[in-house]
């Protein structure tokens, strides 16, 4: 497994690294326990809704730092609508690819950017917070990458069933017993869903 030269360049000399003083909005995703966390700071022009400045901080591996760097490059100077279209696949492509096992870094970086934009939009009455439903659970599961192939577990049909009743989220997944990423995926599902106040309990069945 090897990183592309572009990943190494962004890792050694990341663009837009650091904190913005008095940002219009900031967001943090991931957790030190998972081994990666990213914070994104935005300055947004209230009239044009253009991202005038963007910075990030990273606790994580080389690909975490490189994806943080590339998405700040991609988002800088764009309108919020344009920035929302940045996808984790697009970010990975802009780095000349990422190893499958590292795709989740790109998801985390893009997710943090989207969270910051959403915060800004809600704060300024440009959009509303969505009411919680099964749909949001599925969206959250789409952020979990199966490390073996670098694709999300919903697209890969690893997720067989999603239920949500009385605050209990039930997720049924299909992963063979000998799969080395089995525990990892189950843990990721729990970590992702336990963030939601609306979810009291996460039940993962295999």
């Amino acid at each position: 497994m090897q990183y592309s030269q572009k990943v190494l360049d962004h890792f050694m000399k990341p663009h837009n690294i650091g904190k913005l003083e008095n940002p219009d909005v900031e967001a943090t995703e991931g957790s030190p326990a998972c081994g990666d966390q990213i914070s994104i700071f935005l300055k947004i022009n209230p009239d044009s809704l253009i991202i005038e400045d963007i910075k990030f901080q990273s606790y994580g591996c080389a690909s975490n730092i490189a994806t943080g760097s590339i998405i700040t490059d991609l988002a800088k100077g764009k309108t919020l609508e344009e920035a929302k279209k940045i996808s984790w696949k697009g970010a990975a492509d802009a780095l000349d690819g990422l190893p499958a096992v590292k795709m989740h870094c790109s998801v985390l970086a893009v997710d943090t950017l989207k969270k910051a934009i959403k915060e800004y939009e809600v704060k300024h009455g440009l959009s509303q917070r969505e009411t919680f439903s099964k749909k949001q659970i599925v969206e959250e599961l789409k952020k979990i990458i199966y490390p073996g192939v670098g694709e999300d577990i919903v697209t890969l049909k690893v997720v067989k069933y999603v239920g949500f009743e009385d605050g209990i989220a039930t997720i049924d997944v299909d992963i063979p017993k000998f799969d080395k990423y089995r525990e990892n995926v189950v843990e990721e599902i729990k970590e992702h869903l336990e963030h939601y106040n609306e979810i009291k309990e996460v039940k993962v069945t295999i």
Partner: protein, 389 residues
């Protein structure tokens, strides 16, 4: 750029004398042992001479030594061989939660086949509580397995004390020791320690890759795990590389001719590395015991607020090879199980870096490494949202 190598626990650079020996033997001594013909009898004698050098280094007799294709094959021949041949005496085995993967995966394998396994916990430095061991012994316990020097944090297990506890039981309990990490790093004698089965490996002591040995004490019965033609060893059947065996013996000679000097040189280097890191870089945490209960070549240390794969890669770009316990750099994306078992949290495990030294390292290399490491840690901390100046 000359590479500075601190991954000797993974594998070590072959000594120049070993390379020369292997090459010579590939040219002149490629035959297998055989009776009555010159090439065969010459190889038989040569094999015995090599085995004597290796056997002597651990206090064993030639007849008690099997040559294998490395540490893992020795471990499998020992554990599987012992348990299959002795299951009529009992089906309970004991090891610890921080043992080498060869022990843990074999234990899990036998657990599935109906054996009972006790996985003993350890304290924060990696030692089993002697009372826990005593209390775990049962009438049907037949084997205790341990890793002489821990592969992650370098803890030296008190083998003699374990032997005394096993001997206090009213029946014989065998002891298997994986000594690949301890071999040629601390002096020991299998007879003195009461070890029944022990594995060693050449490539961790500047010998060739793909060759190792298993000590089987006289009277210990092993079942046949690997079947096939008896060319060199009746337990490890099939062929083994004669030039590699020659290289193994040469590596042993080089290590053991000056064992105390080599050990004290490496101890001095790693003491120096640790004290320089601790005095120049803030917010560090040594993993494993401090001082003489640790093998001389291992330093494992966590750097708060940052992640290990990033440290490893930056140091690699500066020409320094070190390894990390971070989940990001592991095959299953899991944090290091030894560090987690010692009570470290996820962050401390993700930020842990392992340096394993050899007699080929120098003080100049240590100076350069600590200087670069200080820069790398400072740079990554400046990027980290967890680090508040």
């Amino acid at each position: 750029m000359k590479r500075i190598y601190f991954n000797n626990c993974l594998t070590s650079q072959p000594a120049p004398e070993v390379i020369e020996t292997v090459t010579q033997n590939m040219n002149n001594n490629y035959y297998f042992p055989e009776d009555f013909i010159e090439m065969g009898t010459k190889t038989t004698k040569f094999l015995d001479d090599s085995k004597k050098i290796i056997a002597d280094s651990i206090g064993a007799e030639i007849k008690e030594l099997h040559l294998t294709s490395g540490g893992t094959s020795a471990n499998n021949l020992a554990i599987k061989g012992f348990l299959t041949a002795n299951s009529d005496k009992g089906t309970h085995i004991i090891c610890s939660v921080i043992d080498y993967p060869d022990i843990l995966t074999n234990a899990a394998f036998f657990e599935k086949s109906g054996f009972d396994v006790t996985y003993l916990p350890t304290d924060k430095d990696g030692f089993i509580d002697l009372n826990d061991l005593k209390n775990s012994l049962r009438n049907d316990t037949i084997l205790f397995m341990t890793t002489f020097a821990n592969h992650t944090v370098g803890t030296i297990q008190p083998i003699k004390k374990y032997r005394e506890i096993l001997d206090a039981a009213d029946h014989k309990i065998a002891m298997f020791v994986d000594a690949c990490e301890a071999y040629a790093r601390i002096p020991f004698d299998v007879k003195d320690l009461g070890i029944d089965l022990l594995s060693i490996s050449a490539h961790k002591i500047h010998g060739p890759q793909g060759i190792g040995a298993l000590y089987q004490r006289k009277g210990i019965i092993l079942g046949q795990v690997q079947h096939g033609v008896d060319r060199i060893d009746n337990l490890y059947t099939g062929g083994l590389s004669i030039p590699s065996i020659a290289g193994f013996a040469k590596a042993v000679e080089l290590a053991f001719d000056n064992l105390e000097t080599n050990i004290s040189k490496i101890r001095k280097l790693s003491d120096n590395l640790l004290s320089k890191i601790e005095s120049t870089i803030p917010y560090t945490l040594l993993n494993g015991p401090r001082g003489r209960n640790r093998v001389p070549h291992n330093i494992n240390i966590s750097f708060d607020f940052i992640e290990g794969e990033a440290i490893m890669m930056m140091m690699d770009m500066y020409g320094v090879s070190i390894s990390t316990g971070s989940a990001c750099a592991s095959k299953g994306l899991k944090p290091n199980y030894v560090l987690m078992a010692l009570g470290r949290d996820h962050e401390q495990s993700h930020s842990s870096m392992k340096f394993t030294l050899s007699r080929y390292n120098t003080l100049e290399e240590i100076d350069y490494t600590v200087k670069k490491l200080a820069d790398v840690v400072k740079e990554l901390r400046a990027r980290s949202p967890l680090y508040k100046q």
